[in-house]
């Protein structure tokens, strides 16, 4: 089973086909759609499991659809960074389960449209899986568009009164960034005559005019930065992530913004192995932008009363951590940064799932209205507290190890200033999460009816608690897994 080569194609085709077929299978009864989506995600997760076991056993491997040899045909490539499909499948599966009750509850959504919601969600997950396993620049763009377009539509799905505005703002910025990516893929094709990542890297090494390749690098970085919502191009994120339905917020904040990061890692791999441009300037810029994102995201989060808006700003500051880790480009900081891609996905999904549970039961979404909720929904509030201490980075939770490694990297790179920026950011983050925990447990309720609500239903509680347990237990596992890949990032790309 493990060695069956076709898993790599199955893992991307199944969710995409499943997405297209969702409206068809739910023609008779719309209640089929969530179970169908759950089945599709189960098959995908199984395939992902086999792939990860294989990459752990024998290292990176490729699949050539149609048997065409790489520079001419397209290539699917699975390496340690592609193992992030584990968290895509996990959170995707849980988000589908979570949506079962949550989407039915959204009043503004017409019931007969619900199958399309699952269709879009599967399309989004399939696009992300495709993005992380492709070995081809143009396919990277296509998958990026699949996942972005479905994300825009999903943001608009919640039907709240500014949802369309938020989705449109997201679409406009997202489309510009996709065009930047496409433009630079075109430039790279013009310079090297190839689209395969490994092949582009080899040919770039001897490419004569350096300027176009440098321009392409800049445009790719900016384009993917918009997708990752790094300062100063983060302005679309808070509204879009806060307004989307909660399971979608978890997917967007946990996974979709990380796609920008993984794209940056891929681009970095290409340019680093071509070794034609001095990446020092770029790294330094990324470190600064990362540091500003950390402090600014945390700063704005303090002033938010809306719980989901607060979590959305906190995503910006965590993206800052990851980018800073990559930009410092020492061994430990890259390990920490890329492991934070996994860990932050788990933590932020926990937080959004738990926040969604509170909103589902009470209908309120501001900290003032939710005061005292800890007494009536103890389990959800425990999950949100675990998420809070993990994101602050208190040992032994998931957030601690990554931030420790990034800080270590800052001192290794002899730039202790950024280590302090990181700790300073963590303090800010601590303030606003303490504010949240304080409101839930220790303040007198402003709305007395909040003490009457029941605990969230099982289909909402189970994903929340499972992820909370993972936040506590997963700890350093992603670090050890990503270590060989991170070391490879500083070494040439193998064909």
């Amino acid at each position: 089973m493990l060695a069956w080569p076709h898993w790599l194609v199955v893992v991307v085709l199944v969710p995409l086909l499943g997405a297209v077929l969702t409206p068809v299978v739910s023609l008779r009864s719309r209640h089929v759609a969530p179970w169908w989506a759950l089945g599709v995600m189960s098959v995908t997760s199984t395939a992902a499991l086999f792939l990860i076991l294989r990459v752990a056993a024998e290292g990176p491997f490729s699949y050539l659809p149609g048997g065409w040899v790489p520079p001419y045909g397209i290539e699917l490539r699975f390496d340690e960074f592609s193992a992030s499909i584990s968290v895509i499948c996990l959170i995707g599966w849980l988000a589908v389960l979570y949506s079962l009750r949550y989407v039915e509850w959204l009043r503004e959504v017409p019931k007969q449209r619900i199958p399309y919601y699952y269709s879009l969600l599967l399309l989004n997950l399939g696009g992300m899986i495709g993005f992380v396993i492709t070995g081809d620049l143009f396919n990277m763009f296509v998958f990026l568009e699949i996942l972005s377009l479905s994300a825009y539509a999903l943001v608009a799905f919640s039907g709240e009164h500014i949802a369309e505005m938020a989705a449109f703002k997201y679409l406009l910025m997202g489309a510009i960034s996709s065009l930047l990516v496409l433009f630079s893929v075109g430039i790279l094709f013009g310079v090297t005559g190839s689209l395969n990542m490994a092949d582009v890297a080899t040919r770039l090494a001897s490419a004569e005019p350096v300027a176009p390749a440098a321009l392409a690098l800049g445009m790719l970085t900016v384009g993917l930065m918009v997708k990752a919502a790094l300062f100063p191009v983060h302005i679309w994120l808070p509204d879009a992530h806060a307004i989307a339905p909660s399971p979608i917020s978890a997917v967007l904040s946990g996974l979709v913004v990380k796609i920008g990061i993984i794209g940056m890692i891929r681009v970095y791999q290409i340019y680093n192995s071509a070794n034609m441009i001095d990446l020092h300037m770029l790294n330094q810029t990324l470190v600064w932008l990362g540091a500003i994102s950390i402090v600014m995201g945390a700063f704005f989060a303090i002033f938010q009363d809306d719980i989901k808006l607060m979590l959305a700003y906190s995503t910006i500051s965590n993206i800052g951590y990851i980018v800073m880790g990559l930009g410092l480009s020492t061994n430990s900081s890259i390990i920490g940064g890329s492991a934070h891609v996994f860990n932050h996905a788990l933590i932020k999904a926990t937080l959004f799932f738990a926040a969604g549970g509170l909103i589902y039961r009470t209908g309120y979404r501001t900290l003032t209205d939710l005061r005292g909720i800890g007494r009536s929904m103890p389990l959800t509030c425990i999950a949100i507290s675990i998420g809070a201490i993990s994101i602050v980075g208190i040992p032994p939770t998931a957030g601690f190890f990554c931030k420790w490694y990034i800080a270590l990297g800052a001192f290794e790179a002899d730039q202790p200033f950024f280590g302090f920026a990181l700790i300073f950011g963590a303090l800010f983050i601590f303030i606003y999460y303490i504010r949240m925990v304080n409101a839930f447990y220790f303040q007198a309720p402003t709305r007395p009816e909040i003490l009457e609500v029941e605990e969230a239903p099982a289909s909402i509680l189970f994903p929340t608690l499972l992820l909370a347990v993972l936040c506590l237990t997963v700890g350093p596992i992603p670090l050890t897994f990503i270590k060989p890949a991170a070391e490879l990032l500083l070494a040439p790309l193998g064909g």
Binding site: E145, A156, M165, L172, L182, F189, L195
Partner: protein
């Protein structure tokens, strides 16, 4: 300088178009106009990639060396075809969003919408 720009007109023009599109998105107030700016940017990128397909003095791989020029590489055309499909779906989604914004708010001017938020 001018001569160099003129010689590379097929690369310069898309860049100019791209910037015009970007300017429209930033400067215009009407959502439909913003979106037209995006369409101009898309056209710019597509024409740039199509222009890459022409290689002066190149040989067509399968036809052999004795086939008569001019040829264009088919790969960029395939890329642009895919790109157009993506652009069409972006357009469809954006227009449907604009319709829903208009139904809810009664306007598609960005400054009036900002006041409503």
């Amino acid at each position: 300088m001018l001569q160099a720009l003129w010689d590379n007109l097929d690369y310069v023009a898309p860049v100019v178009l791209f910037c015009i599109g970007l300017y429209i998105i930033i400067a215009k107030n009407n959502l439909i106009k913003k979106f037209l700016g995006l369409n101009i940017m898309e056209t710019a990128v597509f024409s740039f990639i199509i222009a890459l397909g022409v290689v002066d003095g190149g040989d067509a791989p399968i036809m052999g060396a004795d086939a008569r020029a001019p040829f264009a590489s088919p790969v960029p055309q395939a890329l642009v075809l895919t790109g157009i499909v993506v652009a069409v779906s972006t357009t469809a989604l954006a227009l449907s969003l604009i319709i829903r914004i208009y139904r809810q708010c009664g306007t598609i001017e960005a400054d009036e919408l900002r006041e409503m938020e």
